[in-house]
């Protein structure tokens, strides 16, 4: 769900005209990179059971690991803020266009805070209830294929136009929150069942590949760059009760699904930031609620203050460096672990 929520929000945002007709292939490349990093996380988990990325940093890199973890938390915080900003912008533009931006952000952040304070179990239950929406979203995507034009994404371009290899990192961005969540868990489940945990990114990646493939097939390789929210625009092209006086029904369902996906992702990221900070600064767990409120306040301020120019200027940079750092930090931890003895 985090994959779909974040991927739907940010992958098209990073698309540039130069990617060409095979933009959907960037998700495939991102998926392959994620699979590799997931194996590294599993190896680290096996070597240092009952620890997460913050613990690994401390064990393997000492004081340097502390700063590494802090930077990792900072990126999670920034990713969460960007997600909040992106979702509330979307609702302000499409649904509640007279509501001031700060009010939408405040309402959204408060809901996230509430979910986050309820804990992992409640968030997990919420996610399992909402997982049906993935099926619904997939069905809607299938409906959208009625306008699909194969000449826009013909397989012949795969060998002729190789620009997607150069921009492969844009696909990797979708998977970053998933990797952030995976690396921050204490769970030992992955070491017993890697295949089961790998199913999650597989389903998410399949959905994103299907969505990006369809977007390019409907709007064309150059048409896709016109829309900052191509999936939203794609939903607007589907003919099902489209004679409805205001928005069509498919678009309304899509907005609801998107809100749900991102809500779960953003609340989990918020929880990880707070727990990570507690772990780094050795603060008691009973302060988690207070920390969550303060972090949420930070997200609210950071999401409210910047204008469109600042957002457009810095969001791609944060996404790029955040993804690069996640990749680098986990790889560094794994390489260091090769020279370290296994803990009992």
């Amino acid at each position: 769900m985090s994959l779909i929520g974040f991927g739907m929000a940010f992958h098209p945002f990073m698309q540039v005209k130069e990617v060409g007709p095979n933009a959907y292939m960037t998700i495939v490349l991102g998926f392959l990179a994620t699979g590799t990093i997931l194996i590294l996380i599993q190896r680290l988990n096996k070597k240092f059971p009952d620890q997460n990325i913050f613990g690994w940093g401390h064990t393997l890199l000492g004081p340097l690991g502390w700063f590494g973890s802090l930077l990792f938390i900072l990126f999670i915080f920034l990713f969460d803020t960007m997600l909040v900003k992106r979702v509330t912008e979307f609702t302000s533009a499409a649904v509640l266009f007279r509501t001031p931006g700060w009010a939408s952000i405040a309402a959204y952040v408060l809901i996230l805070t509430y979910i986050s304070i309820q804990g992992e179990e409640s968030t997990g239950r919420l996610a399992s209830i909402l997982i049906g929406l993935v099926v619904l979203s997939t069905l809607i995507l299938v409906l959208g294929f009625s306008h699909f034009k194969l000449p826009y994404v013909h397989p012949a371009y795969l060998f002729r136009d190789l620009n997607y290899l150069k921009y492969g990192w844009t696909g990797f961005i979708c998977f970053i929150p998933f990797l952030m969540i995976s690396a921050s868990l204490h769970s030992n489940l992955r070491q017993q069942n890697l295949i089961a945990s790998a199913t999650v990114p597989c389903i998410g990646a399949l959905f994103l590949i299907l969505a990006t493939f369809e977007m390019a097939g409907v709007f064309g390789p150059l048409g896709i760059t016109r829309y900052s929210r191509p999936l939203y625009s794609l939903m607007g092209t589907i003919h099902l009760y489209s004679e409805y006086f205001f928005q069509n029904i498919i678009l309304s369902i899509h907005i609801f699904n998107f809100m749900c996906f991102t809500m779960v992702t953003a609340s989990i990221l918020l929880r990880i930031v707070c727990k990570g900070l507690l772990e780094l600064f050795h603060i008691q767990q009973n302060k988690l609620g207070l920390f969550t409120i303060f972090t949420a306040l930070g997200i609210f301020i950071l999401a409210t203050l910047p204008g469109l120019i600042t957002t457009l200027k810095y969001v791609p940079l944060v996404l790029f460096f955040g993804s690069l750092y996640t990749l680098f930090y986990i790889t560094l931890l794994w390489v260091t672990s090769l020279f370290h003895r296994r803990t009992q």
């Binding site: 499409a94 266009f97 000449p151 064309g220 625009s233 205001f246 069509n248």
Partner: protein, 369 residues
């Protein structure tokens, strides 16, 4: 601890309720100027923005005998300004209501606007988050004000009726709808070229007349297809699904009903390297209108079949040559050239020749002879 947690939760829930955004967006329907049909013209460097705004009673007008049919069901607003946004402001000033642009169902562009400004205008609408991507586009050579002021004798709003009329299967033989997103997508990608259906006034029936289309080249309007040629466009794109075909045989009129078409286009350069397209069309239809004197034996049926095939072949070739002359490709030959790896497809397209093959199949044996 439990009390603190409950207190904290209550405060959070309280804040959520207080900040819930719905309150800002409350706007009663009588304070909104909903619109269904927009017309845009350009005169003396200024945009002329015309819109049909349904009256509240007109919006819910029904077939009920109690409904006053003579009551005005819509109000026409016209504004002129150098920019589109300014015209919308003028419309609001005139109506004392918030103009809801998002409810528009069709946009009519005058010929002068469609000629040069179509992309700018349509993308301005697409940029609005509430405007549907499925908004239909039309262009016209008639007086756009007359078109907007036209009130055909329907039981529902003309703006809504126009959409139904354009999308009806039978109508789609001489006119084909184009939605805002598709028009923009064709221009963005540069292949195939864009097109726009023509709307005019049927003065006799006081109705909209949807026939023919304008064709574009790199976003600029460069030519027109008449209703017959538009039908051929429908055949070649597979859009004409329930058309009719009339053929003349020995001074007798033969009418084929429910004609559907399937066309395959293949790029096949000759050995000498001359670009050639193989166009294979399969048409299916039911023989309906036959003159009494005509004997319905296999030979006659074969003669009718050959006549239809020859007619279609001749018409298709004529339209293809016309489009090639205009260097416009709304049909999709460019798709084949792009797949084949041709970089400057338009140049090759202008030099191409067409091999047209048509096959007509009788759909079924009519119950009466």
């Amino acid at each position: 601890m439990k009390i603190t947690r409950c207190f904290l939760t209550l405060i959070l829930l309280g804040w959520i309720i207080v900040t819930l955004s719905g309150c800002w967006d409350v706007s009663p329907i009588e304070d909104r100027a909903l619109n269904l049909l927009i017309g845009i013209d350009r005169k003396d460097g200024k945009y002329r923005f015309l819109t049909q705004i349904p009256t509240l009673s007109g919006l819910v007008q029904t077939q009920h005998p109690g409904t006053d049919k003579n009551r005005e069901i819509q109000k026409i607003s016209i504004a002129e300004a150098p920019s589109l946004v300014e015209t919308i402001q003028h419309i609001e000033d005139e109506n004392y209501r918030a103009f809801v642009i998002g409810t528009v169902k069709s946009i009519l562009l005058s010929e002068s606007v469609a000629q040069k400004d179509s992309l700018k205008i349509i993308t301005s609408f697409i940029r609005h988050p509430m405007v549907s991507s499925q908004t239909l586009l039309f262009t016209t050579t008639s007086n756009i004000e007359e078109l907007i002021r036209l009130s055909p004798p329907y039981s529902i709003q003309p703006g809504l009726m126009l959409v139904r009329q354009q999308k009806s299967a039978l109508k789609m033989a001489r006119s084909f709808p184009v939605e805002a997103w598709e028009f923009v997508s064709r221009i963005d990608n540069g292949f195939p070229d864009a097109y726009m259906p023509i709307i005019s006034i049927d003065k006799k029936d006081k109705n909209y007349l949807l026939e023919g289309m304008k064709v574009f080249k790199r976003g600029e309007m460069i030519g027109e297809l008449n209703p017959e040629e538009t039908y051929i466009f429908g055949i070649l794109t597979g859009n004409a699904q329930r058309a009719f075909k009339i053929v003349h045989l020995k001074d007798q009129v033969i009418g084929i009903h429910d004609v559907s078409h399937q066309t395959k286009i293949k790029y096949k350069p000759t050995k000498e390297g001359r670009p050639t397209f193989l166009v294979t069309t399969k048409a299916e239809g039911t023989l309906l209108e036959v003159s009494p004197g005509l004997k319905m034996d296999p030979n006659t049926l074969k003669t009718i079949k050959i006549s239809i095939e020859n007619h279609l072949k001749k018409d298709i070739t004529k339209v293809l040559q016309k489009l090639r002359r205009l260097a416009s490709d709304p049909i999709g030959f460019s798709n084949q050239l792009k797949i084949a790896g041709v970089k400057n497809w338009r140049q090759i397209y202008r030099r191409s020749s067409f091999q047209v093959n048509v096959e007509f199949i009788y759909k079924n044996d009519p119950p009466a002879r």
